[in-house]
């Protein structure tokens, strides 16, 4: 099966671990597509999203001038990688591509003609979304089977952004839904769902970190099902859910307090 990983950053530990897990299951990806924006655009976006103060703080943290706020958070992804004999979990995707002889495509935009043509010409079966942005119609219809996405919430109830936080806000069970991407926002066919257990002393950050590991496990499970033609696609009933948006920090604080 021809698998492609899409990422929006050259440094993506989640994608790195996923690639090595796929290799372990003899499903080595054919290509890594990195749709990373230029540093200037990234800086501009960061300034717009977080403001100048947070951006400066982040730059300081990046260059280890300032302490990282989450440095004490448990790194579930690292633990999982080491437990699964993946020592290179934190190296760049370009290095992984060289080391593992996987094709590497660096593009500015995941929806570019170059990316679409690549998927079609290499007869790619599945694209695994490990970050890449919003997929447009041409890209969505390019792979033979489809694009797989691990969504950090229960579908169809919670679509959109910060769904882990929204699920917690409403006291709903939390988990990851593996689904195909279609033209809507998280409206594609559902393959699998796995709940995330909440332990005492958890925070939004630790639950997010935990969910990355579950994303990988579900992705591997889903690929196996598809490979063996055992998958069951569940059509979503859109009216059973709502689209959510970025949660305001005051509500996030409330959610964190309630954990």
């Amino acid at each position: 099966m021809n698998i492609v990983i899409s990422s929006s950053s050259i440094h993506n530990p989640y994608a790195s671990v996923l690639i090595y897990k796929l290799i372990q299951y003899s499903d080595k990806p054919k290509c890594i597509i990195n749709a990373e924006k230029s540093k200037i655009i990234k800086l501009k976006n960061q300034l717009r999203k977080k403001g100048s103060q947070t951006t400066i703080k982040k730059i300081f943290q990046h260059y280890k001038i300032a302490r990282c706020a989450n440095r004490n958070s448990r790194n579930y992804l690292k633990e999982y990688a080491l437990l699964n004999s993946i020592p290179d979990w934190n190296i760049s995707l370009s290095k992984i591509s060289k080391k593992e002889e996987i094709e590497y495509l660096k593009i500015d935009n995941i929806n570019s003609k170059e990316a679409v043509d690549y998927i079609k010409s290499r007869e790619v079966d599945i694209v695994i979304n490990a970050g890449g942005g919003i997929f447009k119609k041409a890209f969505v219809s390019a792979p033979k089977i489809g694009i797989l996405n691990a969504h950090m919430g229960f579908l169809p109830t919670f679509r959109g952004m910060n769904v882990l936080e929204w699920s917690l806000f409403y006291g709903h069970r939390i988990g990851v839904t593996l689904h195909f991407i279609d033209r809507g926002i998280d409206t594609g066919d559902i393959l699998l769902f796995k709940e995330i257990p909440i332990e005492i002393g958890e925070s939004i950050n630790t639950l997010r970190a935990k969910s990355l590991v579950i994303n990988i496990e579900l992705m591997i499970q889903g690929i196996n099902l598809i490979k063996n033609k055992n998958e069951t696609r569940i059509k979503q009933k859109i009216e059973q859910g709502k689209q959510y948006f970025v949660m305001h920090k005051r509500l996030k604080n409330l959610v964190d307090k309630s954990l």
Partner: protein
């Protein structure tokens, strides 16, 4: 992009004052220039605690009242005209804001100020009972303005039990009933001499008066107006005639007037009609929320400002925002959260209130700017260009007070 914006500002300034007199007025103060430059460079003010923003807004309103020196509140501060004359309509609906703030801070001076406003409104009430239109003392009467002052008088009566306020409200309401069309609309004594669906906000004060007097005629008149308004609703919860004029897309300011009138009036409705009203408002509020939340360059960034006007498809091409409307829409969302328990409304309200707060200068040396809220963002936007309004400042104060009580209530319920 910045160069284009700069050229645009120069063009606008040229348009509004083709002579150097107006240009001089706008630029004569460094405080004016500072606002223009920060809006041009999109530099927002720091967001402080809600109490600080609320206090600054209330102090600005007190200043606007003191400057008018009659009890009424100056309409606002303009870069061109300076402080403006007192505004009967908005002074009327500023009264409940002062009463609520007084209760929140246990400060009676705000009740005294509200009483002065109410007395000034009585002093200038037209012999017919109507309220004067426009800013200053004009001889013409306006339906909408009359309704807004009734809101003030009825809230003052509830607070003080002083009969003069109830009498003034009754006289004004009787005038409203005397000029109402048979189908419930008002087509005379209206802004631009056309009927408006935002007169639902006139039905609301009539219902308040009905509650105080038990006189059915006020309830009947209000219900007629609401039904007339509902007859203009489309499938997508859009209402025709929501704007100041029929040839321009309505501002979020008048859209919010319409929706607020419907929400408050629904309190007096029951059964099917209550459901119809609230379903329509919820649908409209959701459309506006989606328009706002999806207006961003990246999925995980905060939304850009809500456009100033919306068309019948709830869409817009505007590149400026109506800050007055934004604060009012925040109130609609907060109220819809309480009604529907859909926290996306609360979430959107928190974000949009932050944006309005970020436009409020808490340290300007210019007392016309400090604590006030402009009509438009950027300041040269088409709605009340280069002007800090008493009503946008009032709506920010209202939205913060409602936001805080909503958050407090929610926190208590979650604990």
């Amino acid at each position: 992009m910045k160069v284009n914006s700069f050229i645009k500002i120069i063009e606008i300034i040229r348009k509004i004052g083709s002579n150097s007199y107006f240009l001089m007025k706008i630029y004569r103060k460094p405080s004016h220039l500072k606002i223009i430059l920060s809006d041009l460079l999109k530099v927002n003010n720091k967001i402080y605690d809600d109490k600080d923003h609320l206090k600054a807004a209330m102090e600005w309103l007190c200043r606007a009242q003191d400057i008018a020196n009659c009890g009424g509140v100056s309409g606002g501060y303009s870069f061109v005209k300076g402080w403006m004359p007192p505004y009967p309509e908005t002074t009327g609906y500023i009264i409940p804001t002062f009463l609520q703030y007084s209760l929140l801070n246990n400060d009676n001076s705000y009740i005294e100020r509200a009483v002065k406003m109410g007395d000034w409104e009585i002093e200038i009430q037209l012999p017919s009972g109507a309220v004067r239109g426009g800013m200053g003392i004009n001889e013409y009467s306006v339906i909408f303005n009359t309704g807004q002052v009734i809101l003030g008088w009825t809230s003052l009566y509830k607070e003080t039990k002083l009969n003069r306020f109830l009498e003034a409200a009754t006289k004004a309401a009787n005038w409203l009933l005397s000029v109402q069309d048979d189908d419930g609309k008002w087509s005379k004594h209206t802004y631009k001499e056309i009927p408006h669906v935002y007169h639902t906000r006139v039905a609301w004060p009539l219902l308040n008066l009905y509650k105080l007097t038990n006189e059915d005629k006020y309830k009947i008149a209000a219900e007629k107006q609401i039904f007339w308004g509902l007859s203009h609703a489309k499938e997508n919860a859009w209402f025709d005639l929501m704007g100041f004029t029929t040839n321009k897309t309505p501002l979020t300011h008048t859209i919010a007037y319409t929706l607020r009138g419907l929400i408050e009036s629904s309190i007096y409705s029951e059964g099917k009609s209550k459901n119809i009203i609230l379903n329509l408002v919820q649908k409209a509020a959701e459309r506006i929320m989606m328009r706002y939340e999806l207006r961003k360059k990246d999925l995980d960034s905060i939304p850009m400002h809500l456009p100033a006007t919306l068309n019948e498809k709830w869409k817009s091409k505007d590149k400026y925002s109506c800050l007055t409307g934004n604060a009012q829409i925040a109130i609609i969302w907060l109220k819809m959260y309480k009604i529907s328990n859909d926290a996306r409304f609360l979430n959107a309200a928190l974000k949009i209130i932050d944006q309005v707060k970020a436009s409020q200068s808490l340290d300007s040396k210019n007392l016309g700017i400090r604590g006030g809220i402009a009509g438009s963002y950027p300041i040269w936007g088409k709605y009340d260009r280069f002007t800090y309004q008493n009503w946008s400042t009032k709506f920010l104060a209202d939205s913060i007070m409602l936001q805080e009580s909503t958050m407090r209530e929610m926190e208590e319920n979650r604990n």
